[in-house]
Amino acid sequence: MGTVKDREPFRWHSTIAYKTVPKIVTRGFDTTQLVEKGYGFADVIFINYQARIPLVREMKMLHYLMILCLEDGMSTAAGISRFAAKGHNILTQSAGASILAFGHAYGAYQAYGRMLDRYLEQAEKEGKSLQEMAEILVRENQGSLSLGVSNLMLKDPAAKRIFARADSLDLSGRYIGFQREIVKAIQKASKEPVDLDMLGAVGATMFDLGFTPEATWSIVALARAFGATAHAMEEEEREPRVVFGQNLQPKEYYDGPTDRPVPPLKDRDRIVKPGQTKTLEEWRKAFDERAKLGGSGWAIVEEIADPRKLVKVKGK
Protein backbone atom coordinates (compact mmCIF):
# COMPACT_ATOMS: atom_id res chain seq x y z
CA MET A 1 0.00 0.00 0.00
CA GLY A 2 1.40 3.39 0.88
CA THR A 3 1.08 5.59 -2.21
CA VAL A 4 -2.18 7.33 -2.88
CA LYS A 5 -2.54 6.34 -6.55
CA ASP A 6 -2.52 2.60 -5.72
CA ARG A 7 -5.36 2.87 -3.28
CA GLU A 8 -9.13 3.20 -3.39
CA PRO A 9 -10.53 6.65 -2.62
CA PHE A 10 -12.02 7.21 0.81
CA ARG A 11 -15.58 5.96 1.37
CA TRP A 12 -17.70 5.71 4.47
CA HIS A 13 -17.74 1.95 4.98
CA SER A 14 -20.48 0.70 7.27
CA THR A 15 -22.13 -2.62 8.07
CA ILE A 16 -24.91 -0.76 9.87
CA ALA A 17 -26.67 1.39 7.33
CA TYR A 18 -26.70 3.11 3.98
CA LYS A 19 -28.92 5.64 2.34
CA THR A 20 -29.70 6.64 -1.21
CA VAL A 21 -31.83 9.46 -2.48
CA PRO A 22 -35.11 7.52 -2.06
CA LYS A 23 -34.46 5.35 1.02
CA ILE A 24 -32.60 4.66 4.26
CA VAL A 25 -31.60 1.09 4.97
CA THR A 26 -30.35 -0.40 8.21
CA ARG A 27 -29.09 -3.98 8.29
CA GLY A 28 -30.93 -4.63 5.04
CA PHE A 29 -34.31 -3.23 6.10
CA ASP A 30 -35.80 -0.06 4.63
CA THR A 31 -36.49 2.00 7.77
CA THR A 32 -39.76 3.46 6.44
CA GLN A 33 -41.00 -0.01 5.56
CA LEU A 34 -40.14 -1.14 9.06
CA VAL A 35 -42.29 1.47 10.77
CA GLU A 36 -45.04 1.18 8.16
CA LYS A 37 -45.23 -2.52 9.01
CA GLY A 38 -45.66 -1.74 12.68
CA TYR A 39 -42.15 -2.15 14.03
CA GLY A 40 -41.37 0.35 16.73
CA PHE A 41 -38.51 2.14 18.39
CA ALA A 42 -37.25 -0.78 20.46
CA ASP A 43 -37.40 -3.08 17.44
CA VAL A 44 -35.20 -0.72 15.45
CA ILE A 45 -32.70 -0.59 18.32
CA PHE A 46 -32.38 -4.39 18.09
CA ILE A 47 -32.01 -4.19 14.31
CA ASN A 48 -29.43 -1.42 14.52
CA TYR A 49 -27.27 -3.05 17.17
CA GLN A 50 -27.85 -6.73 16.57
CA ALA A 51 -28.94 -6.91 12.92
CA ARG A 52 -32.03 -8.91 13.86
CA ILE A 53 -35.73 -8.42 14.50
CA PRO A 54 -36.38 -9.23 18.14
CA LEU A 55 -39.00 -11.58 19.49
CA VAL A 56 -42.01 -9.62 20.77
CA ARG A 57 -41.11 -10.53 24.35
CA GLU A 58 -37.56 -9.28 23.80
CA MET A 59 -38.90 -6.01 22.45
CA LYS A 60 -41.19 -5.73 25.50
CA MET A 61 -38.30 -6.38 27.85
CA LEU A 62 -36.24 -3.63 26.23
CA HIS A 63 -39.10 -1.15 26.70
CA TYR A 64 -39.35 -2.24 30.32
CA LEU A 65 -35.63 -1.67 30.92
CA MET A 66 -35.52 1.68 29.18
CA ILE A 67 -38.44 2.96 31.24
CA LEU A 68 -36.50 2.15 34.40
CA CYS A 69 -33.44 3.93 33.02
CA LEU A 70 -35.38 7.00 31.97
CA GLU A 71 -35.37 8.94 35.21
CA ASP A 72 -33.57 8.82 38.54
CA GLY A 73 -34.26 12.12 40.29
CA MET A 74 -31.34 14.51 40.72
CA SER A 75 -28.78 12.03 39.44
CA THR A 76 -25.34 12.90 38.10
CA ALA A 77 -26.69 12.94 34.55
CA ALA A 78 -29.54 15.29 35.51
CA GLY A 79 -27.15 17.47 37.51
CA ILE A 80 -24.69 17.91 34.65
CA SER A 81 -27.50 18.60 32.27
CA ARG A 82 -28.86 21.27 34.63
CA PHE A 83 -25.45 22.86 35.13
CA ALA A 84 -24.93 23.06 31.37
CA ALA A 85 -28.40 24.60 30.94
CA LYS A 86 -27.57 27.36 33.42
CA GLY A 87 -25.36 28.94 30.77
CA HIS A 88 -28.41 29.32 28.48
CA ASN A 89 -26.97 26.98 25.86
CA ILE A 90 -28.94 25.08 23.26
CA LEU A 91 -30.61 21.87 24.34
CA THR A 92 -28.29 19.55 22.44
CA GLN A 93 -25.40 20.61 24.69
CA SER A 94 -27.30 19.78 27.87
CA ALA A 95 -28.42 16.46 26.41
CA GLY A 96 -24.88 15.59 25.34
CA ALA A 97 -23.46 16.70 28.67
CA SER A 98 -25.72 14.26 30.51
CA ILE A 99 -24.29 11.38 28.45
CA LEU A 100 -20.80 12.42 29.46
CA ALA A 101 -21.74 11.60 33.07
CA PHE A 102 -21.46 7.92 32.22
CA GLY A 103 -18.14 6.33 33.11
CA HIS A 104 -16.70 3.36 34.91
CA ALA A 105 -18.51 4.14 38.17
CA TYR A 106 -21.76 5.90 37.23
CA GLY A 107 -23.58 3.59 34.84
CA ALA A 108 -20.54 1.36 34.46
CA TYR A 109 -22.14 -0.99 31.96
CA GLN A 110 -19.09 -1.49 29.79
CA ALA A 111 -16.77 -2.26 32.72
CA TYR A 112 -19.38 -4.49 34.34
CA GLY A 113 -20.22 -6.35 31.13
CA ARG A 114 -16.62 -6.96 30.18
CA MET A 115 -15.96 -8.26 33.68
CA LEU A 116 -18.85 -10.72 33.41
CA ASP A 117 -17.63 -11.86 29.99
CA ARG A 118 -14.10 -12.39 31.29
CA TYR A 119 -15.22 -14.55 34.20
CA LEU A 120 -17.80 -16.45 32.17
CA GLU A 121 -15.10 -17.30 29.64
CA GLN A 122 -12.82 -18.40 32.44
CA ALA A 123 -15.60 -20.56 33.92
CA GLU A 124 -16.05 -22.28 30.59
CA LYS A 125 -12.33 -22.86 30.07
CA GLU A 126 -11.78 -24.16 33.57
CA GLY A 127 -15.04 -26.09 33.80
CA LYS A 128 -16.19 -24.17 36.86
CA SER A 129 -19.80 -23.69 37.89
CA LEU A 130 -21.35 -20.21 37.94
CA GLN A 131 -21.41 -20.38 41.72
CA GLU A 132 -17.69 -21.17 41.93
CA MET A 133 -16.81 -18.48 39.42
CA ALA A 134 -18.98 -15.89 41.21
CA GLU A 135 -17.05 -16.55 44.41
CA ILE A 136 -13.75 -16.08 42.56
CA LEU A 137 -15.04 -12.86 40.95
CA VAL A 138 -16.13 -11.46 44.30
CA ARG A 139 -12.79 -12.36 45.92
CA GLU A 140 -10.78 -10.76 43.12
CA ASN A 141 -12.86 -7.59 42.88
CA GLN A 142 -13.41 -6.62 46.49
CA GLY A 143 -14.41 -2.99 46.89
CA SER A 144 -15.45 -2.55 43.27
CA LEU A 145 -18.55 -0.40 42.76
CA SER A 146 -19.33 -2.21 39.52
CA LEU A 147 -20.43 -5.67 40.63
CA GLY A 148 -24.15 -5.00 40.33
CA VAL A 149 -24.62 -5.50 44.05
CA SER A 150 -24.86 -2.76 46.69
CA ASN A 151 -27.03 -1.35 49.46
CA LEU A 152 -28.90 0.93 47.05
CA MET A 153 -31.96 -1.21 46.40
CA LEU A 154 -32.67 -2.76 49.79
CA LYS A 155 -36.10 -1.20 50.04
CA ASP A 156 -36.86 -0.61 46.37
CA PRO A 157 -37.99 -3.79 44.60
CA ALA A 158 -37.41 -2.42 41.08
CA ALA A 159 -34.15 -4.30 40.44
CA LYS A 160 -35.49 -7.66 41.57
CA ARG A 161 -38.66 -7.09 39.57
CA ILE A 162 -36.50 -6.81 36.43
CA PHE A 163 -35.16 -10.34 36.89
CA ALA A 164 -38.66 -11.58 37.74
CA ARG A 165 -39.96 -10.03 34.52
CA ALA A 166 -37.12 -11.58 32.52
CA ASP A 167 -38.00 -14.96 34.12
CA SER A 168 -41.67 -14.58 33.28
CA LEU A 169 -40.82 -13.74 29.66
CA ASP A 170 -38.46 -16.70 29.52
CA LEU A 171 -35.53 -14.41 28.77
CA SER A 172 -33.23 -15.16 31.70
CA GLY A 173 -29.97 -16.63 30.48
CA ARG A 174 -26.45 -17.14 31.67
CA TYR A 175 -25.84 -13.49 32.54
CA ILE A 176 -28.82 -13.28 34.88
CA GLY A 177 -27.89 -16.67 36.28
CA PHE A 178 -24.33 -15.52 36.88
CA GLN A 179 -25.42 -12.22 38.43
CA ARG A 180 -27.71 -14.09 40.81
CA GLU A 181 -24.70 -16.11 41.95
CA ILE A 182 -22.66 -12.92 42.36
CA VAL A 183 -25.40 -11.49 44.59
CA LYS A 184 -25.35 -14.63 46.74
CA ALA A 185 -21.54 -14.62 46.96
CA ILE A 186 -21.40 -10.98 48.04
CA GLN A 187 -24.23 -11.41 50.51
CA LYS A 188 -22.30 -14.32 52.03
CA ALA A 189 -19.11 -12.26 52.31
CA SER A 190 -20.63 -8.94 53.38
CA LYS A 191 -21.31 -7.89 56.95
CA GLU A 192 -23.78 -5.26 55.74
CA PRO A 193 -27.04 -6.03 53.95
CA VAL A 194 -26.62 -5.80 50.16
CA ASP A 195 -28.69 -6.88 47.19
CA LEU A 196 -28.98 -6.74 43.44
CA ASP A 197 -28.81 -3.13 42.19
CA MET A 198 -29.80 -1.45 38.93
CA LEU A 199 -26.37 -1.89 37.35
CA GLY A 200 -26.58 -5.65 37.82
CA ALA A 201 -30.27 -5.98 37.02
CA VAL A 202 -30.35 -3.83 33.88
CA GLY A 203 -26.90 -4.93 32.74
CA ALA A 204 -27.36 -8.69 33.04
CA THR A 205 -30.79 -8.52 31.43
CA MET A 206 -29.50 -6.43 28.52
CA PHE A 207 -26.69 -8.93 27.98
CA ASP A 208 -29.19 -11.79 28.00
CA LEU A 209 -31.11 -9.85 25.35
CA GLY A 210 -27.95 -10.05 23.26
CA PHE A 211 -26.64 -6.50 23.68
CA THR A 212 -22.91 -6.07 24.13
CA PRO A 213 -21.51 -4.12 27.08
CA GLU A 214 -20.85 -1.17 24.76
CA ALA A 215 -24.34 -1.23 23.27
CA THR A 216 -25.80 -1.44 26.77
CA TRP A 217 -23.71 1.48 27.95
CA SER A 218 -24.96 3.59 25.05
CA ILE A 219 -28.61 2.56 25.28
CA VAL A 220 -28.82 3.18 29.02
CA ALA A 221 -27.01 6.53 28.76
CA LEU A 222 -29.34 7.63 25.98
CA ALA A 223 -32.46 6.50 27.81
CA ARG A 224 -31.32 8.50 30.82
CA ALA A 225 -30.54 11.48 28.59
CA PHE A 226 -34.26 11.88 27.84
CA GLY A 227 -34.89 12.40 31.55
CA ALA A 228 -31.89 14.69 31.84
CA THR A 229 -33.26 16.77 29.00
CA ALA A 230 -36.45 17.39 30.99
CA HIS A 231 -34.24 18.49 33.89
CA ALA A 232 -32.34 20.90 31.62
CA MET A 233 -35.62 22.43 30.47
CA GLU A 234 -36.90 22.72 34.03
CA GLU A 235 -33.66 24.42 35.06
CA GLU A 236 -34.26 26.99 32.33
CA GLU A 237 -37.88 27.38 33.39
CA ARG A 238 -37.44 27.61 37.14
CA GLU A 239 -33.90 28.63 38.00
CA PRO A 240 -31.87 31.76 37.25
CA ARG A 241 -29.21 31.73 34.57
CA VAL A 242 -25.58 32.08 35.55
CA VAL A 243 -23.08 34.33 33.80
CA PHE A 244 -19.34 33.95 33.48
CA GLY A 245 -17.59 35.00 36.71
CA GLN A 246 -20.78 35.19 38.75
CA ASN A 247 -20.29 32.55 41.41
CA LEU A 248 -18.16 33.17 44.47
CA GLN A 249 -16.22 30.50 46.34
CA PRO A 250 -16.09 31.38 50.05
CA LYS A 251 -12.67 31.11 51.67
CA GLU A 252 -13.99 28.72 54.32
CA TYR A 253 -14.42 26.18 51.53
CA TYR A 254 -10.79 26.58 50.44
CA ASP A 255 -7.97 24.43 51.84
CA GLY A 256 -5.19 24.99 49.31
CA PRO A 257 -1.92 26.89 49.85
CA THR A 258 -2.31 29.90 52.15
CA ASP A 259 -2.33 33.41 50.69
CA ARG A 260 1.19 34.46 49.56
CA PRO A 261 2.76 37.33 47.64
CA VAL A 262 3.49 36.92 43.94
CA PRO A 263 7.29 37.03 43.49
CA PRO A 264 8.68 39.67 41.10
CA LEU A 265 9.12 38.21 37.63
CA LYS A 266 12.81 39.09 37.57
CA ASP A 267 13.40 37.03 40.71
CA ARG A 268 11.68 33.89 39.60
CA ASP A 269 14.71 31.84 38.57
CA ARG A 270 16.23 32.61 41.95
CA ILE A 271 13.11 31.71 43.91
CA VAL A 272 11.43 28.83 42.13
CA LYS A 273 12.26 25.18 42.58
CA PRO A 274 12.21 23.34 39.22
CA GLY A 275 9.94 20.31 39.04
CA GLN A 276 12.44 17.87 37.57
CA THR A 277 13.75 15.03 39.70
CA LYS A 278 17.03 13.24 39.05
CA THR A 279 16.70 10.12 41.16
CA LEU A 280 13.88 7.66 41.71
CA GLU A 281 13.73 8.58 45.39
CA GLU A 282 13.37 12.25 44.50
CA TRP A 283 10.74 11.33 41.95
CA ARG A 284 8.72 9.32 44.49
CA LYS A 285 8.95 12.06 47.06
CA ALA A 286 7.81 14.67 44.51
CA PHE A 287 5.00 12.35 43.38
CA ASP A 288 3.67 11.98 46.92
CA GLU A 289 4.01 15.70 47.58
CA ARG A 290 2.15 16.57 44.39
CA ALA A 291 -0.63 14.14 45.25
CA LYS A 292 -1.43 16.27 48.28
CA LEU A 293 -2.55 19.13 46.04
CA GLY A 294 -6.20 18.66 45.13
CA GLY A 295 -6.85 19.23 41.46
CA SER A 296 -3.30 18.34 40.42
CA GLY A 297 -4.42 14.89 39.34
CA TRP A 298 -1.50 13.12 41.01
CA ALA A 299 -3.74 11.40 43.53
CA ILE A 300 -5.67 9.67 40.74
CA VAL A 301 -4.16 6.36 39.67
CA GLU A 302 -5.89 4.67 36.76
CA GLU A 303 -5.39 0.99 36.17
CA ILE A 304 -4.07 0.32 32.69
CA ALA A 305 -3.76 -3.01 30.96
CA ASP A 306 -0.72 -5.00 32.07
CA PRO A 307 0.97 -6.27 28.89
CA ARG A 308 2.46 -9.15 30.87
CA LYS A 309 -1.05 -10.48 31.40
CA LEU A 310 -2.07 -10.21 27.75
CA VAL A 311 -1.87 -13.11 25.35
CA LYS A 312 1.18 -12.76 23.09
CA VAL A 313 0.40 -12.31 19.40
CA LYS A 314 2.46 -14.65 17.26
CA GLY A 315 5.21 -12.95 15.32
CA LYS A 316 5.02 -9.70 17.27
Partner: protein
Protein backbone atom coordinates in the same frame (compact mmCIF):
# COMPACT_ATOMS: atom_id res chain seq x y z
CA UNK B 1 -22.92 4.67 50.42
CA UNK B 2 -23.76 8.38 50.83
CA UNK B 3 -27.21 9.09 49.44
CA UNK B 4 -27.65 12.82 50.06
CA UNK B 5 -28.97 14.77 47.04
CA UNK B 6 -26.16 15.94 44.75
CA UNK B 7 -27.89 19.25 44.14
CA UNK B 8 -30.85 20.64 46.04
CA UNK B 9 -33.63 21.75 43.75
CA UNK B 10 -37.38 21.85 43.70
CA UNK B 11 -38.48 19.74 40.78
CA UNK B 12 -41.81 18.76 39.26
CA UNK B 13 -40.25 15.87 37.33
CA UNK B 14 -39.45 13.15 39.81
CA UNK B 15 -38.47 12.10 43.27
CA UNK B 16 -36.55 9.12 44.54
CA UNK B 17 -36.68 7.45 47.92
CA UNK B 18 -35.15 4.24 49.17
CA UNK B 19 -38.40 2.53 48.21
CA UNK B 20 -39.12 3.85 44.73
CA UNK B 21 -38.48 6.28 41.90
CA UNK B 22 -41.54 8.34 41.05
CA UNK B 23 -41.92 10.16 37.73
CA UNK B 24 -44.70 12.75 37.56
CA UNK B 25 -46.54 10.81 40.25
CA UNK B 26 -46.11 7.35 38.76
CA UNK B 27 -43.85 4.69 40.26
CA UNK B 28 -41.47 4.00 37.38
CA UNK B 29 -41.25 0.30 38.15
CA UNK B 30 -45.05 0.04 38.19
CA UNK B 31 -45.23 1.74 34.79
CA UNK B 32 -42.90 -0.88 33.34
CA UNK B 33 -44.67 -3.75 35.12
CA UNK B 34 -48.01 -2.63 33.70
CA UNK B 35 -46.66 -3.01 30.18
CA UNK B 36 -46.30 0.61 29.15
CA UNK B 37 -43.63 1.27 26.55
CA UNK B 38 -40.66 3.59 26.64
CA UNK B 39 -42.58 5.89 24.29
CA UNK B 40 -45.46 6.00 26.79
CA UNK B 41 -42.95 6.95 29.45
CA UNK B 42 -41.67 9.83 27.33
CA UNK B 43 -45.18 11.29 27.37
CA UNK B 44 -45.19 10.97 31.15
CA UNK B 45 -41.74 12.57 31.37
CA UNK B 46 -42.31 15.53 29.10
CA UNK B 47 -46.05 16.02 29.45
CA UNK B 48 -47.02 14.41 32.75
CA UNK B 49 -49.64 12.24 31.08
CA UNK B 50 -50.16 8.77 29.68
CA UNK B 51 -50.86 9.01 25.94
CA UNK B 52 -53.67 7.41 23.95
CA UNK B 53 -52.74 4.26 22.04
CA UNK B 54 -52.74 6.19 18.76
CA UNK B 55 -50.39 8.78 20.20
CA UNK B 56 -48.05 6.09 21.48
CA UNK B 57 -48.11 4.41 18.07
CA UNK B 58 -47.27 7.67 16.35
CA UNK B 59 -44.26 8.21 18.60
CA UNK B 60 -43.11 4.61 18.08
CA UNK B 61 -43.36 5.18 14.33
CA UNK B 62 -41.43 8.38 14.39
CA UNK B 63 -38.68 7.18 16.73
CA UNK B 64 -38.31 3.93 14.84
CA UNK B 65 -37.98 5.84 11.62
CA UNK B 66 -35.68 8.57 12.85
CA UNK B 67 -33.23 6.34 14.70
CA UNK B 68 -30.90 5.53 11.79
CA UNK B 69 -29.90 7.85 8.98
CA UNK B 70 -26.60 6.34 7.85
CA UNK B 71 -23.95 9.00 7.23
CA UNK B 72 -25.18 12.33 8.53
CA UNK B 73 -23.16 14.94 10.43
CA UNK B 74 -24.11 13.27 13.71
CA UNK B 75 -22.93 9.76 12.75
CA UNK B 76 -19.78 11.19 11.17
CA UNK B 77 -19.02 13.08 14.40
CA UNK B 78 -19.51 9.98 16.52
CA UNK B 79 -17.21 7.96 14.27
CA UNK B 80 -14.56 10.68 14.06
CA UNK B 81 -14.62 11.14 17.83
CA UNK B 82 -14.19 7.42 18.37
CA UNK B 83 -11.12 7.60 16.13
CA UNK B 84 -9.27 9.12 19.07
CA UNK B 85 -10.40 6.24 21.31
CA UNK B 86 -11.97 8.21 24.15
CA UNK B 87 -14.51 6.44 26.33
CA UNK B 88 -17.59 5.56 24.32
CA UNK B 89 -19.93 8.14 25.94
CA UNK B 90 -17.77 10.94 24.51
CA UNK B 91 -18.48 9.70 20.98
CA UNK B 92 -22.19 9.27 21.71
CA UNK B 93 -22.39 12.77 23.19
CA UNK B 94 -20.50 14.17 20.20
CA UNK B 95 -23.08 12.62 17.89
CA UNK B 96 -25.94 14.13 19.86
CA UNK B 97 -24.28 17.52 20.17
CA UNK B 98 -23.79 17.76 16.41
CA UNK B 99 -27.43 18.72 16.04
CA UNK B 100 -27.86 22.45 15.62
CA UNK B 101 -29.14 25.10 13.30
CA UNK B 102 -28.61 23.07 10.12
CA UNK B 103 -28.73 19.42 11.15
CA UNK B 104 -32.17 18.77 12.61
CA UNK B 105 -33.17 22.23 13.90
CA UNK B 106 -36.22 20.78 15.63
CA UNK B 107 -36.83 23.32 18.36
CA UNK B 108 -36.60 26.28 16.01
CA UNK B 109 -39.15 24.72 13.67
CA UNK B 110 -41.49 24.15 16.61
CA UNK B 111 -41.14 27.71 17.80
CA UNK B 112 -41.88 28.91 14.27
CA UNK B 113 -45.09 26.86 14.12
CA UNK B 114 -46.21 28.06 17.56
CA UNK B 115 -45.56 31.69 16.70
CA UNK B 116 -47.58 31.60 13.50
CA UNK B 117 -50.41 29.59 15.02
CA UNK B 118 -50.71 32.23 17.74
CA UNK B 119 -50.69 34.96 15.12
CA UNK B 120 -53.46 33.23 13.20
CA UNK B 121 -55.50 33.11 16.38
CA UNK B 122 -54.88 36.72 17.36
CA UNK B 123 -55.19 38.12 13.86
CA UNK B 124 -58.33 36.12 13.07
CA UNK B 125 -56.78 34.35 10.08
CA UNK B 126 -57.23 30.76 8.99
CA UNK B 127 -54.34 28.34 9.45
CA UNK B 128 -54.03 28.06 5.69
CA UNK B 129 -53.79 31.82 5.29
CA UNK B 130 -51.16 31.97 7.98
CA UNK B 131 -49.14 29.26 6.22
CA UNK B 132 -48.87 31.52 3.19
CA UNK B 133 -47.98 34.52 5.35
CA UNK B 134 -45.22 32.50 7.01
CA UNK B 135 -43.76 31.48 3.68
CA UNK B 136 -43.95 34.98 2.24
CA UNK B 137 -42.37 36.54 5.30
CA UNK B 138 -39.49 34.09 5.35
CA UNK B 139 -38.89 34.16 1.62
CA UNK B 140 -39.19 37.92 1.34
CA UNK B 141 -36.56 38.21 4.05
CA UNK B 142 -34.31 35.75 2.20
CA UNK B 143 -34.54 33.26 5.07
CA UNK B 144 -34.88 29.52 4.49
CA UNK B 145 -38.27 28.12 5.45
CA UNK B 146 -37.53 25.45 8.03
CA UNK B 147 -38.74 21.92 7.43
CA UNK B 148 -38.24 21.79 3.69
CA UNK B 149 -35.51 20.21 1.58
CA UNK B 150 -32.75 17.76 2.45
CA UNK B 151 -29.25 17.88 0.95
CA UNK B 152 -29.00 14.11 0.40
CA UNK B 153 -32.60 13.15 -0.40
CA UNK B 154 -32.89 15.62 -3.23
CA UNK B 155 -36.17 14.15 -4.50
CA UNK B 156 -37.77 14.39 -1.07
CA UNK B 157 -36.98 12.75 2.24
CA UNK B 158 -38.41 9.22 1.99
CA UNK B 159 -39.52 9.35 5.63
CA UNK B 160 -41.34 12.63 5.54
CA UNK B 161 -44.56 12.16 3.55
CA UNK B 162 -45.26 8.76 5.12
CA UNK B 163 -45.01 10.50 8.51
CA UNK B 164 -47.63 13.05 7.48
CA UNK B 165 -49.85 10.22 6.22
CA UNK B 166 -49.35 8.18 9.38
CA UNK B 167 -50.51 11.14 11.47
CA UNK B 168 -53.74 11.26 9.49
CA UNK B 169 -54.16 7.49 9.47
CA UNK B 170 -53.87 7.37 13.27
CA UNK B 171 -56.09 10.41 13.71
CA UNK B 172 -53.42 12.39 15.50
CA UNK B 173 -53.48 15.30 13.09
CA UNK B 174 -54.47 18.81 14.08
CA UNK B 175 -53.49 22.42 13.66
CA UNK B 176 -49.78 21.71 13.41
CA UNK B 177 -50.15 19.39 10.44
CA UNK B 178 -52.62 21.80 8.89
CA UNK B 179 -50.14 24.65 9.19
CA UNK B 180 -47.18 22.57 8.01
CA UNK B 181 -49.07 21.40 4.94
CA UNK B 182 -50.18 24.97 4.22
CA UNK B 183 -46.54 26.02 4.43
CA UNK B 184 -45.48 23.27 2.01
CA UNK B 185 -48.22 24.22 -0.43
CA UNK B 186 -47.57 27.97 -0.31
CA UNK B 187 -43.82 27.46 -0.51
CA UNK B 188 -43.97 25.31 -3.61
CA UNK B 189 -46.61 27.46 -5.30
CA UNK B 190 -44.29 30.41 -4.92
CA UNK B 191 -41.30 28.45 -6.19
CA UNK B 192 -43.29 27.28 -9.19
CA UNK B 193 -44.34 30.87 -9.87
CA UNK B 194 -40.68 31.81 -9.75
CA UNK B 195 -39.88 29.03 -12.19
CA UNK B 196 -38.02 26.98 -9.60
CA UNK B 197 -38.15 23.29 -8.81
CA UNK B 198 -40.43 22.27 -5.96
CA UNK B 199 -38.88 21.13 -2.68
CA UNK B 200 -40.43 18.46 -0.51
CA UNK B 201 -40.92 18.39 3.23
CA UNK B 202 -38.04 16.97 5.30
CA UNK B 203 -38.05 15.11 8.62
CA UNK B 204 -38.01 18.30 10.64
CA UNK B 205 -41.08 19.50 8.80
CA UNK B 206 -42.82 16.13 9.09
CA UNK B 207 -41.43 14.62 12.27
CA UNK B 208 -41.38 17.73 14.34
CA UNK B 209 -44.91 18.60 13.27
CA UNK B 210 -46.05 15.19 14.47
CA UNK B 211 -44.26 15.62 17.79
CA UNK B 212 -45.82 19.05 18.27
CA UNK B 213 -49.19 17.55 17.49
CA UNK B 214 -48.56 14.89 20.11
CA UNK B 215 -48.12 17.67 22.66
CA UNK B 216 -44.36 17.90 22.93
CA UNK B 217 -42.82 21.34 23.38
CA UNK B 218 -40.29 22.48 20.75
CA UNK B 219 -37.37 21.59 22.99
CA UNK B 220 -38.84 18.30 24.20
CA UNK B 221 -39.44 17.36 20.56
CA UNK B 222 -35.89 18.28 19.70
CA UNK B 223 -34.59 16.27 22.63
CA UNK B 224 -36.56 13.23 21.49
CA UNK B 225 -35.25 13.57 17.95
CA UNK B 226 -31.58 14.01 18.77
CA UNK B 227 -31.49 11.34 21.44
CA UNK B 228 -33.33 8.89 19.24
CA UNK B 229 -30.63 9.42 16.61
CA UNK B 230 -28.04 9.05 19.36
CA UNK B 231 -28.76 5.30 19.43
CA UNK B 232 -27.50 4.80 15.89
CA UNK B 233 -24.61 7.24 16.41
CA UNK B 234 -23.51 5.03 19.27
CA UNK B 235 -23.81 1.97 17.05
CA UNK B 236 -21.60 3.58 14.38
CA UNK B 237 -19.06 4.59 17.02
CA UNK B 238 -18.97 1.04 18.38
CA UNK B 239 -18.42 -0.31 14.88
CA UNK B 240 -15.41 1.95 14.51
CA UNK B 241 -14.17 0.97 17.98
CA UNK B 242 -14.46 -2.77 17.33
CA UNK B 243 -13.87 -3.10 13.62
CA UNK B 244 -12.21 0.10 12.46
CA UNK B 245 -8.81 1.63 13.02
CA UNK B 246 -8.06 4.32 15.57
CA UNK B 247 -6.86 7.58 14.06
CA UNK B 248 -8.26 6.62 10.61
CA UNK B 249 -5.01 7.58 8.90
CA UNK B 250 -3.19 4.29 8.34
CA UNK B 251 -1.43 4.02 4.96
CA UNK B 252 -1.49 0.24 5.18
CA UNK B 253 -5.19 0.09 4.34
CA UNK B 254 -6.37 -0.71 0.83
CA UNK B 255 -8.68 2.27 0.95
CA UNK B 256 -7.42 5.78 1.64
CA UNK B 257 -8.50 6.61 5.18
CA UNK B 258 -10.55 9.62 6.23
CA UNK B 259 -7.55 11.33 7.80
CA UNK B 260 -4.94 10.21 5.29
CA UNK B 261 -2.52 13.04 4.60
CA UNK B 262 -3.66 13.05 0.98
CA UNK B 263 -7.13 14.11 2.14
CA UNK B 264 -5.80 17.48 3.27
CA UNK B 265 -6.00 20.31 0.78
CA UNK B 266 -4.34 23.51 1.94
CA UNK B 267 -4.99 26.74 0.13
CA UNK B 268 -3.92 29.26 2.70
CA UNK B 269 -0.84 31.49 2.90
CA UNK B 270 2.12 29.94 1.03
CA UNK B 271 5.03 28.57 3.07
CA UNK B 272 7.17 31.38 4.49
CA UNK B 273 10.25 31.62 6.70
CA UNK B 274 9.80 32.17 10.44
CA UNK B 275 11.38 35.50 11.38
CA UNK B 276 14.05 35.47 14.10
CA UNK B 277 13.27 37.07 17.46
CA UNK B 278 15.52 39.99 16.45
CA UNK B 279 13.39 40.56 13.33
CA UNK B 280 10.10 39.85 15.04
CA UNK B 281 8.93 43.28 16.15
CA UNK B 282 9.60 44.89 12.76
CA UNK B 283 8.03 41.93 10.96
CA UNK B 284 4.91 42.01 13.14
CA UNK B 285 4.54 45.77 12.70
CA UNK B 286 4.79 45.38 8.91
CA UNK B 287 2.07 42.69 8.93
CA UNK B 288 -0.22 44.92 10.97
CA UNK B 289 0.28 47.82 8.57
CA UNK B 290 -0.23 45.76 5.42
CA UNK B 291 -3.34 44.20 6.89
CA UNK B 292 -3.36 41.26 4.47
CA UNK B 293 -3.66 38.87 7.36
CA UNK B 294 -7.21 40.09 7.92
CA UNK B 295 -8.58 38.03 5.10
CA UNK B 296 -7.46 34.90 6.95
CA UNK B 297 -8.88 35.86 10.31
CA UNK B 298 -11.62 33.43 11.43
Amino acid sequence: MEREPMIKRKTAISYKTEEKTVLRGYNLSDLAEEGYTFCDALFVLFQGRIPSQAEEKMLEYEMGEFLEHSMSPSAASAIATMGGRPQLPAAVAAGVMTFGGAHGPGAAHGYMLNKYLERARVEGKSVKEMGKILVDEYMDAGMPVMGLGQPQHVDGDPRAMPTHRKQEELGVDGVYLELQKAVEEAFNKRREAEGKKTIAVNMIGAGNTALAELGFSPNAAWGIGILCRGFSCACHAIENMKKGHAWMASTREKMIQMLDLSMIVYDGIPDRPVPSQEEREEYAQRELEKGEYKKWVL
